[in-house]
Symmetry: C2
Subunit: 306 residues, 2 copies
C-alpha cells in the first residue's frame, strides 16, 4: 500500500519532507504530482491562490500558522478543498508567554526592570484570583492547565455554548460586560474575525478592575489601540502586555512605547525554534490521517474563516 | 478544657489574636501570663532575647518569617524551648515569584520592557527543559509543582540525601558542579547558613550554560555578587533575576543596577498582603497542635539554625 503524495511549497525543507515520510506519505516539491499540499509560507496568500488555481488535484491544504485571516481575506479558502491550519499546535509556548506576561505585570516587572534604586514591596499574586479568557481554543485549554496550579477561577468567554473543560464557567460573548469587572487578568486568546475585531474597546477597558492587566496573545485587531493608550494613561487598568499590536509592527514613536505600564513583545510568543518541532509533528499526524481518511487536526471552516 | 495562653508581641494585632482563638488558645499581650509566644517582629532579635530572658515560662516561640538567620546569629535560638518559623508557609507566592522571574528572563522581558522599537522574534521556552533547584524545602516543593506543568526535568541539590518528590533527581551538594552545566535555570531556594553562604561563586557561574538564568529567591548571601557582576558582563550566563541581593538593599549606583540582563525585585516575592492570611493560618494550626501536644509545623533546629 502506498501513501499519499504530498507537495511541500514554496520551498521543500528536509525537516518537512521527513515529517511527511514519518506520516506515511511521499514528499515532493511538484504540486502537479500531489494530492495534498503543505504550504509553509505564512504570508503571500495570493501566491498560494495561483498555485492552487493551477493544480486542482490538491484536495487538502495544510497551512503553517494558527491564524488564517490573511488567507481568508484573500479569498483563498475555497470550500472545494479541506483546509487545516496549525491551531492547537503552538498552544503550549503561546500559553506560556501569556502566563509569563501576566505574572510580569502583576509582579510589577516593568517598573522593577527600569528601577535604579531599591523599591518598596508590592505586587499581586495570581493564587486564588479570578481571570477572564476570551476564546475557547487550544491556547485557552493550555492556559487553563497552567493557571490551575495557582487555583485560578477562570471565566471563558466564547461564541459557542459548550463549556470549556477546566474553566470555572463558560459564558457567551453577550456576557462579556458582566464578567470583566471581577477579573485580575483579561487574556485574549481568540481568533480574529469580523465579529471579534475591536472586541476590547473603551467600554470594556472602563469595566475592568483598576488592578487588572490585559494580556493579548491573539491579534492586535482585537483591541482598540487608542482606547487602550488612554486607559493606560488614566489608570483605568493597571497595565497591558501585548504580544500583538494594531498597527503591527508597532511604529517607532507610537504612544504605547512610552506607557510605563505596557509590556510589548514583538509577536514572539512562539518562535520558530518552538514552532518547528511542533509543526513537524502536526504534519506527520495529518499526513497519517489523510492517508487513512481519518479526521484531520486543525480543520478550518472556510465559511467562518478560522 | 481550656487551651494554652499565647502571648503576641511586640504588638498584638487583632488578626493574630483571632488566629490564636481559632486554634483554641487564649491570646494575651502579657508574656508573663503565657506558655507560648507569637513574635511578629522580623528584625530586632535582641529585643526578643530580652523578653525571653525575663519570661522563662514561654516554652514555644513562633517566629514570623521563613528565614531565621538573624535570630540564629544573635544567639537567641536556645535549645531549652521549641522554636518554629513560618517556613513552608509562604512557599506559594515565593515559588510563583521564582517562576515569574525565570519566565521573564527566558522571554527577554528586560530587553522588551526598555525597547522603544519593534524587535526580532526571540526567547526560550521552559517546556521540556532541565533546571537545577538548590534547596529541598517548601519553596522547592511548590516550585516543582508549578514547573511540572511545563514537563520540566528538575534536579534538586540538597544537603539531606532523601529524594524530593516531584524532582527528576535529588543530588548532594558535592554534585553541584556536575549538574550545573545542563540547567536552563538555576533556582536558589535554600536556607542561608555558614555552609551555604557564597555557594554560587565564580566557579559555579562559569559552569552554567551561557543561555541559563540564575534566579535567587533565597538570600543575597548565597551569591558572590562581584563574580555575578562579571558573569553578567561577560555573557557567561544569560542573566540573573534577584529578589535578594548582597548587600541588601542594593545601594544606588551598584553595578547590578546597570546590567541590562539583570532583574532586581526588592525582596518582595511575598508581600504582607500575601503573607498575612497564610501566617494567620499557620498560627491557628500551631496553636491547635501545641494545645494537644501534636508536632509543631515549621520546627527550627536551634543547632542547625534553620
Amino acid at each position: 500500500m502506498s501513501g499519499p503524495t504530498v507537495a511541500i511549497a514554496p520551498s521543500t525543507p528536509e525537516w518537512a519532507a521527513e515529517a511527511v515520510r514519518l506520516g506515511g506519505g511521499t514528499p515532493t516539491s511538484e504540486p502537479g504530482e500531489a494530492e495534498a499540499l503543505i504550504w509553509l509560507q505564512p504570508g503571500e496568500p495570493a501566491r498560494l491562490g495561483e498555485l492552487l488555481g493551477a493544480h486542482r488535484g490538491l484536495r487538502w491544504v495544510q497551512l503553517p500558522f494558527a491564524g488564517v485571516e490573511a488567507f481568508a481575506a484573500a479569498g483563498v479558502l475555497s470550500a472545494d478543498r479541506s483546509w487545516t491550519c496549525a491551531k492547537g499546535c503552538y498552544a503550549e509556548p503561546v500559553a506560556e508567554h501569556a502566563l509569563a506576561l501576566s505574572l510580569a505585570g502583576l509582579r510589577l516587572l516593568p517598573e522593577r526592570v527600569t528601577a535604579r534604586s531599591w523599591g518598596q514591596p508590592a505586587g499581586t499574586s495570581l493564587y486564588d484570583s479570578s481571570v477572564v479568557i476570551l476564546g475557547g481554543g487550544g491556547i485557552t485549554a493550555e492556559l487553563l492547565r497552567l493557571l490551575q496550579a495557582f487555583r485560578v477561577r477562570a471565566t471563558v468567554v466564547r461564541r459557542r455554548r459548550d463549556p470549556v473543560p477546566g474553566a470555572a464557567r463558560t459564558v457567551p460573548v453577550s456576557d462579556l460586560h458582566r464578567v470583566l469587572p471581577g477579573a485580575l487578568v483579561v487574556y485574549l486568546a481568540l481568533a480574529l474575525t469580523p465579529s471579534t475585531a475591536g472586541i476590547i474597546g473603551a467600554d470594556e477597558l472602563s469595566l475592568m478592575d483598576p488592578r487588572a492587566w490585559l494580556v493579548n496573545v491573539a491579534r492586535g485587531g482585537h483591541v482598540d489601540t487608542e482606547a487602550l493608550v488612554s486607559a493606560l494613561g488614566s489608570g483605568a487598568i493597571a497595565g497591558a502586555a501585548l504580544d500583538v499590536t494594531d498597527p503591527e509592527p508597532l511604529p517607532d514613536g507610537h504612544p504605547l512605547w512610552e506607557a510605563p505600564n505596557c509590556i510589548i513583545t514583538p509577536h514572539t510568543a512562539d518562535t520558530w525554534d518552538m514552532i518547528r518541532p511542533r509543526l513537524a509533528r502536526r504534519i506527520e499526524d495529518n499526513v497519517a490521517r489523510f492517508a487513512t481518511g481519518a479526521p484531520l487536526l486543525g480543520l478550518v471552516d472556510p465559511a467562518e474563516g478560522y
